[in-house]
């Protein structure tokens, strides 16, 4: 009899197969149609597609569909395998037999593992044998196939064990299914919600940084989905070896926790939402909190107002609280004093929390690094610009000179003073400080730029900032194969390859940029042309910039080489120009010239129409991106396309005489 206690009971495995074998079969078929079948179809094509180097994780093998089966089948397996736990009769039946709970649990786990691994293994074998008899090198290699086997087995078992864990925690199969997915994305979701809310409460806190850099570590599902199958040189496999090992460890932890819970679980909890009563309040508060955060985020994103945010908390929290109560009590009639009391208690607690958060983070908000501690600093108009350089492993043009660092710190200080995390503004500032002790500090602000223009000017005119804003400064001319300049009107284009010309052009450009004033950077003159480089044979690089009339040395060089007519927009390229007076007493929601021009056009204001080349030439001296001025000019390049136009503007002083005369 002892020996039998240790041996395993094949009737249970048999029963599990009769019960959930179909899940295994569907999994097999799903993978079969997305992998071997796709391969056979592809191989029999007359013009096979070119594989992109991701092997079995590529689009040829419909990675998305593979993921669908990977996400769904293990959860179904966990739900149906442990369905008996959630039905009173079945649970009593299963546990009335002479078998320790742990052993019974392990039997079912064994069935589940066999039934889930088998379909993966069978598909692996089919692909393995195919690789032996046919030439599939261009689609996948055996190492890639083995990695696929490892990845799918690990992730399948991880998702399965999470499902089992939730199953031992709850007493309802539907709740098990839903909670499993919630648990799989919960860390990432919570992280997003919290990062979002901290960005709205705390000056300088950048939710984007936190999210972009680490979100995938918080959910295996996000990790799998985030895999980029397009574009070069990104990761070759969806999940690396170290994360896979970590996932396996996590799986083992879930297994141990499930086994423990299964042994302790009161069986009378079949049919209850949560098997462990002690978790009821945790669950309720958790759901309420998440819903409140979500509600707050929803209303903030659409309204950007503190009042709406609070409304969002109230609505979200109430919905979450009611939903959780309904689920726990399995009735929708939960409107009684006890719940009302709990709801109030929760509200009071979170209200206090909201009030406290800014205090807790006061140090963070007011912190500005000491210049002496800063090694170097990066500042730009947004986080993404920085991240794309990090992603592409480029040298990041940090500001290193002490004066420039001081200017940056001054700007930072001003931003702390004027910024309001919830109000925001059109102008974004993103700082990365690399400290001498090796740590990094990130801050992000958005304000209306007028408020900090003085400090901003000081930073913008530093050489270091220009290096950031104009990567072309760091580009060596001998690496450039080709330069192309496209005029704004789209009618002119100049390309040149000659190394001498390239060197001459780049010298002039660098000199112009180094001498650029703040005004030239923020509100450059004239209609720009786009300059693109081909560097070491690669046309895809960040060195492109906009060439404005204010690049005086470059303009001289272009004229001297005879390129000017092709490279820049000429008066002849412009069909007509419409001049409006900038309305002074209107209160528009935005103040940029283009927005106001559109309002004027809508209002049917009659413009001064200019067609003469000489007049148009003088109008082309106007500035772009201005937020105030006396006159607005719209340039049309082709009478057939009234949507293609560019806007410049003039202050009173600089405006050409003929428009002043016209409007007076």
């Amino acid at each position: 009899m002892r020996s039998k206690t240790l041996s395993f009971n094949k009737e249970i495995i048999k029963q599990d197969f009769r019960n959930v074998g179909w899940v295994s079969i569907v999994y097999f078929l799903g993978l079969f149609f997305t992998l071997p079948m796709q391969l056979f179809m592809e191989m029999s094509r007359e013009e096979p597609r070119i594989p992109n180097g991701h092997g079995l994780f590529s689009s040829i093998f419909t990675y998305e569909l593979q993921l669908f089966f990977l996400f769904v089948m293990p959860v179904l397996m966990a739900v149906f395998l442990f369905r008996y736990l959630h039905v009173k009769g079945a649970s009593d039946f299963a546990h009335s037999f002479p078998m320790k709970r742990g052993r019974l649990f392990n039997h079912h786990i064994l069935s589940g593992v066999i039934l889930l691994i088998l379909p993966i293994l069978l598909n692996y074998l089919i692909l393995f044998i195919t690789a032996g008899v046919a030439d599939v090198e261009s689609y996948y290699k055996v190492t890639n196939l083995s990695y696929w086997l490892w990845l799918f087995s690990s992730m399948t078992l991880l998702i399965f064990m999470v499902g089992v864990f939730v199953g031992t925690l709850t007493g309802l199969s539907a709740v098990q299914g839903i909670l499993t997915y919630i648990l799989l994305v919960l860390p990432a979701g919570l992280y997003t919600l919290i990062a979002f809310h901290l960005s709205s409460y705390i000056k300088g806190y950048s939710g984007d940084v936190v999210l972009e850099q680490s979100i995938q570590y918080f959910s295996p599902l996000a990790d799998l989905v985030k895999f980029q199958r397009y574009g070069p040189d990104t990761a070759e496999v969806p999940v690396g070896t170290i994360p896979l090992i970590i996932y396996s460890v996590v799986m083992a932890v879930f297994y141990i926790a499930s086994l423990f819970l299964y042994k302790k679980r009161p069986l009378e909890s079949a049919g209850r939402a949560l098997a462990v009563r002690a978790l009821n309040p945790v669950f309720k508060v958790g759901v309420t909190f998440c819903f409140a955060l979500f509600g707050g985020m929803y209303f903030t994103v659409s309204q950007y107002e503190y009042g709406w945010m609070i409304t969002g908390y109230l609505i979200g929290g109430t919905v979450g609280y009611a939903g959780a109560s309904m689920l726990l009590e399995k009735t929708w009639r939960i409107f009684n004093g006890r719940h009302l009391k709990g709801w109030f208690a929760y509200g009071a607690f979170t209200g206090a929390l909201i009030a406290l958060i800014p205090f807790l983070w006061q140090n963070y908000e007011s912190y500005v690094p000491e210049r002496s501690e800063v090694d170097r600093v990066y500042v730009s108009g947004g986080y993404w610009q920085y991240q794309s350089m990090v992603n592409e492993e480029m040298d990041i043009p940090f500001i290193t000179s002490p004066e420039a660092i001081q200017s940056t710190i001054d700007l930072h200080e001003q931003l702390i003073e004027v910024s309001d995390p919830l109000e925001g503004g059109r102008d974004y500032f993103f700082f990365v400080y690399q400290m001498k002790d090796g740590s990094e500090i990130y801050r992000q602000y958005s304000v209306d730029d007028k408020e900090v223009s003085e400090a901003k000017k000081a930073v913008y005119e530093t050489e270091g900032y220009k290096n950031i804003q104009y990567p072309v400064l760091a580009l060596e001319s001998d690496k450039v194969n080709q330069i192309s300049i496209d005029s704004y009107s789209g009618q002119g284009r100049k390309e040149f390859y000659d190394p001498e010309q390239i060197t001459g052009f780049m010298e002039a450009v660098k000199e112009d940029i180094e001498g650029m004033s703040y005004e030239d950077i923020v509100t450059p003159r004239g209609l720009y042309s786009g300059v693109h480089f081909t560097v070491d044979g690669d046309p895809d690089n960040p060195f492109h910039f906009q060439l404005h009339l204010s690049f005086e040395k470059t303009m001289d060089w272009l004229k001297q080489e005879g390129f000017y007519e092709e490279a820049m927009t000429l008066p002849e390229d412009i069909h007509r120009a419409d001049v409006y007076r900038w309305p002074q007493n209107h209160d528009f929601p935005h103040t940029d010239a283009r927005f106001i021009l559109d309002r004027l056009k809508e209002a049917g204001v009659e413009p001064l129409e200019v067609k003469g080349n000489e007049e148009i030439g003088s109008l082309m001296e106007g500035q772009s991106n201005q937020e105030k001025g006396a006159y607005i000019v719209a340039f049309y390049f082709d009478e057939r396309y009234s949507d293609h136009y560019e806007v410049l503007s003039f202050d009173n002083g600089q405006a050409p005489g003929f428009i002043k005369e016209h409007f007076e």
């Binding site: 009899m1 029963q15 009769r18 039946f93 009335s96 052993r103 009378e268």
Partner: protein, 299 residues
């Protein structure tokens, strides 16, 4: 054999069993009586080792039964709402049971097949409720348990089948001293099967009796005397109930039969008859003194 001591069990805040103690001897058939909601099913699930009590001891075959594989090998539990594995035939269930219980007796199974006359190849779910109960008995009896726990076992069985099942059970009790615990809300249903009964009411055992003793111990007598000198209270008998119709007394008396008749003879009765007493009456009179509306409990 089965020993329950100060057992306490609650579901959430609601106490189902409070301080239950009783004892079932080896080879006896114990009837656990109680109204709906008295806690019978919960008590049986605990004794079968499925649920865990909060406090107290539940020993079966001298050991704590919860999650005890060795003890549960010898215990078979038949719940009131039967459960069979989905889509299974009786034969498949028998295979399942045979792998679960070391004591499974295939010969017994075949013998019982002839008794019950059911098609073992048919899916159990297609059987009627009564047939399903027979299947459950069939499987339980083939597992040769030392302890058989039956929750409302006679629901849905016709009189003939009930008799058959009872015979098989009693045979095992007689031959191999199997112990049986039967729950019921109906005293009449178990009266002719059990040798002991216990009454569970609102989570407590109200009383426990040996039925043979009880029947020998309580008597219903009808007496009439010539003179009016007889006063039941003064007679020194343990009178549970009395009625007087004219000169005739109807008495329910506890005690030895010989002592009672000797006492009566002293008063030289004109009439002295002993009347038959049902178990139900015994309980009602026993409990009547305690003040419970006993009819409501057992019906």
């Amino acid at each position: 054999m089965i020993e329950v001591q100060s057992l306490y069990k609650s579901f959430g805040k609601e106490a189902i069993l409070k301080d239950v103690s009783f004892h079932v001897q080896k080879g006896s058939i114990y009837g656990l009586l109680g109204s709906n909601g008295a806690g019978k099913t919960t008590l049986m699930r605990i004794i079968a080792g499925i649920l865990k009590q909060k406090n107290g001891h539940v020993r079966v075959l001298e050991e704590e039964v919860f999650d005890n594989e060795r003890i549960k090998q010898k215990v078979v539990f038949l719940p009131d709402s039967l459960y069979f594995l989905p889509q299974y035939t009786t034969r498949q269930m028998a295979d399942y049971y045979s792998k679960m219980y070391d004591s499974w007796d295939e010969e017994r199974y075949q013998k019982l097949k002839r008794l019950f006359q059911l098609d073992e190849k048919r899916k159990i779910s297609q059987f009627s409720k009564g047939m399903q109960r027979q299947v459950a008995f069939w499987l339980a009896m083939s597992s040769m348990p030392d302890v058989l726990i039956l929750d409302e076992p006679f629901d849905g069985l016709d009189a003939v089948m009930r008799q058959k099942v009872r015979n098989v059970m009693i045979q095992d009790v007689a031959e191999r001293e199997m112990t049986v615990l039967i729950s019921s809300h109906n005293l009449r249903e178990v009266e002719d099967v059990c040798d002991h009964v216990g009454i569970l009411h609102q989570g407590e055992i109200l009383l426990e009796r040996d039925l043979d003793d009880l029947k020998a111990d309580v008597h219903k007598i009808q007496v009439a005397f010539q003179e009016e000198a007889f006063h039941p209270e003064a007679s020194g008998l343990d009178i549970l109930h009395q009625e007087k119709r004219g000169s005739v007394f109807l008495l329910i008396v506890r005690g030895n039969e010989g002592d009672i008749s000797a006492e009566m003879k002293k008063h030289r009765p004109l009439v002295y008859d002993r009347l038959p007493l049902t178990l139900e009456e015994i309980f009602i009179y026993e409990m009547g003194g305690v003040g419970y509306a006993f009819e409501n409990i057992i019906v």
